[in-house]
Amino acid sequence: MGVVIVHMVPCSGPEALQSTADNLCRMIERIGGQRDGVFCVDCETYFNTSMGRTQHVLHDSEHPASVFSLLESGLCLVADANFDSLMNKLTPQLFTTKMGTKVECKGPRYQVEDFVLKVGTVTIGTSARGLLVECEYQPCPVTASCWELMRELMESLLGVPLNQPGPYLALRMREIYTPVDTIQQYMEHFNVLRKSNPVQAVSAPASGQSGGQTNQNAQTPTSKG
């Protein structure tokens, strides 16, 4: 496991998500990406209304035997697959879920030399909300040591400047990277997309990637592809 950065790709609207994703995939294949299956990250939110607690339960196909339970405070419990059975037991007496709030990010997975690139379409319930690109640099466990390298690849793919990583990762640049960090980055983006209006254009996230990209900028590389 190396360092992973998850970046939201700005799109002009929900209808442009598929074409933007296809263009990105073509660009990855053009730089030598070998398609290596598919990936999925999902998030189900459980509420305990009487106690006022919220719990997000996430799964990542990169770690299929693990379940991640993320609380509002940012605390993340990593558990084995039996955690799902436990949640079934505690639902609906202690926790409840709302219909149509499950978030899923699915798409193809590519291997490009030492990098793994994933292009995922985010759906909330049944509506498509955004596009995320995950970039993993496998040989290095510390973000600060490989950020420039990853940035170069992402900038060439997306055609937009990436000045710094998201707020979560920016605080942990010199720490050893763990799978929990990937989950926290996905949660950051899922929170932004949950708040966004599905009808409106999906633009750059408020959660962090700076660079002042515009929709027009975002379309530049994809239209070339």
């Binding site: 607690r53 039996n82 059975s85």
Partner: protein, 262 residues
């Protein structure tokens, strides 16, 4: 995998803990994606690209089978425990290897849901002799003891291996510590049966598992199997094994509710 002991199952299931055993976890992932790779070699890269569904199966295991714990309990005085240990060593698997020991702390957390006044309790367990092992979160359901045709206690049990921040996680969810104890003892395995010979200790000073006081002058013996529901033949198997331990220890189905009342 069939659990071997209170904290040991989490150790064995520890491959699931991201951040703790990444190499093994990646191995798991490769196992899952091996079907895709086989298709890749057989059908060619292009074909796989066209055929691969976005996700083969959902990651959430909504209909995972709940396991039942079939349980018999008994006790033996400290003075006779060695005789029992010798007999178990002869009867159980791996009799030529040293007996496995454990030294665990178990904390029981409860939460009362104000909406429907229901109380839930979860157990957090950690190996004191090897704190690096994953913690274990356990849900234990109400035992069914009323069925006279059944020889054992039968209760729903869910065991989850977790990262070491389990106690903080429980507290943040609103669970509060009800009681805690330390169990020290020996684990044996016979087929799918697990036998624990353990001494239960009271923790005199909360938060300090060094200040211990034995609850009694006896060892608690537990014979248990985790299996899917309706395995009636299991009862016979456990009864046969329990008979081999007589008259040293009488393993019975203990009605905890009646113990509580008296």
């Amino acid at each position: 995998m069939q659990p071997l002991g209170p904290a040991v199952p989490s150790a064995l299931n520890g491959i699931a803990i991201a951040g703790l055993r990444l190499g093994e976890m990646r191995g798991k992932f490769e196992q899952q994606s091996s079907s895709v790779r086989i298709r890749q070699t057989l059908g060619g890269y292009r074909i796989m690209q066209a055929e691969a569904p976005i996700v083969e199966q959902p990651l959430t295991r909504k209909n995972a089978a709940n396991l039942q714990e079939y349980l018999l309990q008994g006790s033996i005085l400290d003075s006779s425990a060695d005789v029992l240990l010798n007999r178990l060593r002869g009867l159980c698997d791996n009799s030529d290897s040293p007996v496995e020991l454990f030294h665990d702390i178990e904390q029981v957390y409860t939460i009362k849901d104000q909406a429907n006044q229901a109380t839930f309790s979860l157990r957090a367990r950690n190996a004191l002799d090897n704190p690096q092992l994953p913690w274990q979160l356990r849900y234990v359901g109400q035992p069914e003891v009323g069925d006279k045709s059944r020889f054992t206690i039968c209760r729903s049990v869910i065991e989850v291996g977790t990262s070491s921040n389990l106690v903080t996680w429980l507290n943040e969810l609103g669970f509060r510590l009800d009681y805690e104890f330390v169990a020290k003892g020996h684990i044996f395995q016979k087929g799918r049966m697990k036998i624990l010979v353990q001494k239960i200790h009271r923790v005199c000073q909360s938060g300090n598992p060094e200040t211990l006081e034995p609850v009694s002058q006896s060892f608690l013996i537990e014979l248990s199997v985790l299996a899917p529901p309706s395995q009636e033949s299991l009862g016979e198997e456990m009864k046969a094994f329990a008979d081999q331990l007589r008259p040293l220890v009488e393993l019975e189905k203990v009605d905890h509710a009646r113990l509580h009342v008296s």
